[in-house]
């Protein structure tokens, strides 16, 4: 899949985020965990867009999943892929 995060062009927009999320982002920036709030939000949005693009291609190729199989998959994911385990591997 093409990486859409690095076209180099940017455009300023105004977005609304939950107050808690903004505070957490500003704290992370102050602590040096993230380079900037804008960069973090841009990378997160681009990653999600990449995922959606891939899903569209997957649907085109395989169709919608079988309901019984999808229910099984959801159950496995809920049990074994808890939020703390959903990190991208290094």
């Amino acid at each position: 899949m093409a990486d859409s995060t690095r076209s180099g062009r940017t455009r300023k927009v105004t977005i609304t985020l939950p107050t808690e999320a903004v505070e957490a982002l500003e704290q992370a920036r102050a602590a040096g965990t993230i380079p900037s709030v804008s960069e973090y939000v841009a990378e997160t949005v681009c990653a999600r867009l990449d995922r959606e693009r891939w899903l569209a291609e997957w649907r085109k190729l395989t169709g919608e999943p079988d309901p019984k199989a999808a229910a099984w998959a959801d159950q496995v994911i809920a049990k074994h892929c808890l939020p703390g385990r959903m990190r991208k591997a290094s």
Partner: protein
């Protein structure tokens, strides 16, 4: 979640559950880890099938192109750790299964396996989910 070779082969041959799993994992944003040794075994098996169809190969290629799929390389350090993990087990050397077990141990993740006994033979403490129909 870490995938074994049989899951990847299933994605090519009889993808009812694996295709659904790939779809739902992407919806939930779950990272899927494919150890390189398991991927190598999968390609060997796939190319050994006389009746492997083009659509199945295309499915696996698209799966591997997912931004949520990570292929874990088999480098020098990993090779050494795999050997250490499998050492002492009274089994025929099984590098693909050991790579799956090591990836699970390293991250504390579970495995989705079409051949769960092979992963458990390397490390019985790894949590293994069996792919239905295998």
């Amino acid at each position: 979640m870490v995938l074994d070779a049989a899951v990847l082969v299933d994605l090519v041959t009889t993808p009812l559950y694996t295709a659904a799993f790939a779809h739902r994992a992407a919806v939930h944003g779950v990272t899927l880890l494919v150890p390189a040794a398991a991927l190598a075994e999968a390609w060997q098996t796939i190319h050994g099938h006389a009746n492997t169809d083009h659509a199945g190969i295309e499915r696996l290629n698209l799966f591997l192109a997912s931004p949520l799929v990570v292929v874990e390389p088999l480098d020098e350090t990993t090779a050494r750790r795999i050997g250490e993990l499998a050492a002492g087990r009274t089994i025929t050397p099984d590098v693909p299964a050991a790579h799956v077990a090591l990836a699970c141990r390293t991250r504390g993740w579970s495995a989705l396996a079409g051949e769960p006994a092979r992963v458990r033979a390397i490390d019985p403490t790894v949590e293994v989910v069996t792919l239905p129909g295998t």
